[in-house]
Amino acid sequence: MGNTLMTASPAGLERIKTISHHLGEPDWASALRREAWQRFMETPMPSRTHEHWRRTDISHLRLEDIVPTVPTRTPAPPDWLEETIRVGARRVAGTLAFVDGALAYSHVTDSLRKQGVIFTDWAQAVHSHPDIVRRAMEQLDYDPADEKFTAMARAYATGGTVLLVPAGVRLTLPLQTFFTATNATAVFPHTLVILEEGSRVTLLDGLLSPDLPTRAFGSGVADLILGEGAELTYVLFQQWGRGMEYFHHQRAVLGRDSHLTTITVALGASLSKATIESVLCSPGAVSDMLGVVFGDDNQHFDHHTVQLHTVGNTTSDLLFKVALDGQAYSAYSGLIRIEPGAQKANAYQRNENLVLSRQAHAETLPNLEIEANDVRCTHGATVAPMDTEQMFYLMSRGLAPRDANRLIVEGFLQPVLDRISAKSLREMVSAKVDEKIASGRF
């Protein structure tokens, strides 16, 4: 057991000094860390009366008491993670794996290195590329509603992935990074992706662990910065074990004519709350946001998406599919916001909920705030049970009810998973989704 639960706030300050020292961080990096800690301490715990926090009860959390583990040695990836890494290894250009906040495995192909792609951990990047990382970090600007958690993540982050793709570099093979918890009871994953002009890459960010023996906490941030004409496919694959309560904030800033595809796959954790945000602030930017949630037992999911069009001639699309079994709960709230003057913006948002059990509970709040008129904004949301006609058809073909059920749920979620263009990642994620569906009551 890590000695992660301490009381009294100054312990937190001491701890970030130790972390900074241990990682040998330059002054600017430790200053940013202290600043983030200050903001974390000053920001009050979000109140349940705040619209953003109405659907997730966090009153039991004592964030000030949580202190991160200082990574003291290089751990080895656990067997199950090695297996996952090995399966995809031949078809990816690079892999990183973090265990309890420390880099445990790293592999990048020579060709990747030759092309000047930086794919490394945070501690390394602050030394090797201080200017780029620093500039990116100083520009970050999160939704104030998440401030308590994003500031905490930035103050306490130890491991985490930094990916820099130079101008014009277009990678065909994807990259993957995994973040897991074994002994730590608090994790703070941090991902920074910077794509320069005209570059292209696919990154899978996996947050996963087996079921945890005690309650664990996590707060993570992912920052995606796309330069002019850049193309990024970012897959967030969340399969924390039960016991984890995980908070996530993903923010993408899209440059001129850039194209972002973000695919969120949420299967794990006891409680998870995520904000996924695309800021379309340059003309020609396109954001495709997709999501799959499959919940069972008494899992709690709360996803909030933001399609923010600050300028015109921008396009965003969203498809979020949620299947719920057992007593699982899912809240999906999405906002399309078109700011004044953002003419010729085009935004779409669709949330579909498949409710498989009488005790499951789905909430959906697809919101629009439109302040320009020459726009096309549409959203749709549905909540429906298993289609009995589809069931009947499959069973009339000789399938057992259990198999028919499984096929229908897989078929419901698959269109989103199909959008992962990198075959190895698609197969890996699909297999894990199918595995979870199959492990259910069907």
């Binding site: 003419q343 020459d374 904004c377 549409t378 049970p385």
Partner: protein, 470 residues
Amino acid sequence: MATPQSLLDVGTEYQYGFRDEIEYVYKAEKGLSRRVVEMISHMKGEPDWMREFRLRALEIFLKKPMPTWGNTKLLSEIHFDDIYYYIKPAEKQGRSWEEVPEQIKNTFEKLGIPEAERKFLAGVSAQYESEVVYHSIREDLERQGVIFMDMDSGLREHPDLVRRWFGKVVPPADNKFAALNSAVWSGGSFIYVPPGVHVEIPLQAYFRINAENMGQFERTLIIADEGSRVHYIEGCTAPIYSTDSLHSAVVELIALKGAHIRYTTVQNWSKNVYNLVTKRAVAYEDATVEWVDGNLGSKLTMKYPSVYMVGKGARGDILSVAFAGPGQHQDAGAKVIHAAPYTTSTVVSKSISKGGGRTTYRGLVQVDEGAVGVKCNVRCDALLLDEFSRSDTYPTMNVKEDDVRIEHEATVSKVGEEQLFYLMSRGLSEQEATTMIINGFFEPFAKELPLEYAVELNRLIALEMEGSVG
């Protein structure tokens, strides 16, 4: 095809913005206190339970914070201490048209209610100031046992019925403005339709605000007994005043087994009025409640008509349209709560924003545990006529049951260029074409209205559109 001259003639001045000099019999002091509430109750000679009800509501009102959602900026500009909470215009209620004071008749003249219509109506319950001054019920309705009177008379003449249902659908603690209304309510309609009775013609009431800074807190209670049927229409026009007025009504509908209630509103308060209204219906087994709700006037409207379907097979239909011009915020919507199996509902919302106006759809679809076989469809369409206006859509769907089908769809767009081009190629001016497209957009609402209201709606839209394009 050209727009009829009558449409274009409608002036830019707010046509009902006149103001009569009326001698007030009693004028309460400004502001709200226990004493004011007790005085209101005393003046009306109410039973003790109602006085207690009012005082309890006052306490709730004082305790409850202002809403932290919606247009909090406009809400914060309401000065509760600067409002008259009760004004009694005439001592006695008119029994027949002849007995109605001349001055008030003049007001209706100016409103343009045709003589024929008055006779046609089953009963006219015209709330002028804070109290109903006139109502009549056609004899055949009376023979059928239909009760249609103002709420104060209802309390006096049918105390048991009122006590059984009053404040049961919208309890004072529901929200701050429901609490305010419960404390100071005055006037409004009380309707009871006996089992099996179908009221063939719509019952109507006209409301007006008069007296500067006067609040209007009417309270309407409609009970449709088993298998009965009734359609109630309220329309509002109000004179323009220099400072803000507050209108905060509570409407409670009870549709018992197999009953059918339709409640139609054409809201056209002058553009300085805060219209903060709680409208809620309970539908029992196989009952149907329809809200047809049009919001054209007011500075800020916050109104979300709702239907609680508590009996198997109940149905709720809500049709809502909103038009927001300069300085207006129409924060309207609909709530459907499916608390029983095999209940169905549809919500259609249409809104137009123009000249910096803002429309908001705020809705709720809730399916409680055990409410199997529920079907609900929500559709919201918004048109933005210029780049300064704003449209928001905030639907919430909360589903705690698996055997249900819920659908929601919304679009926001501008007036289609192809439609405009087509109409203009047929010789219409841009303004005429735009007006026609908007009338078409609102058509599903207009066709649910009685003819005279539909005509009025078209005239109002033409009026609003004047000078907005070209």
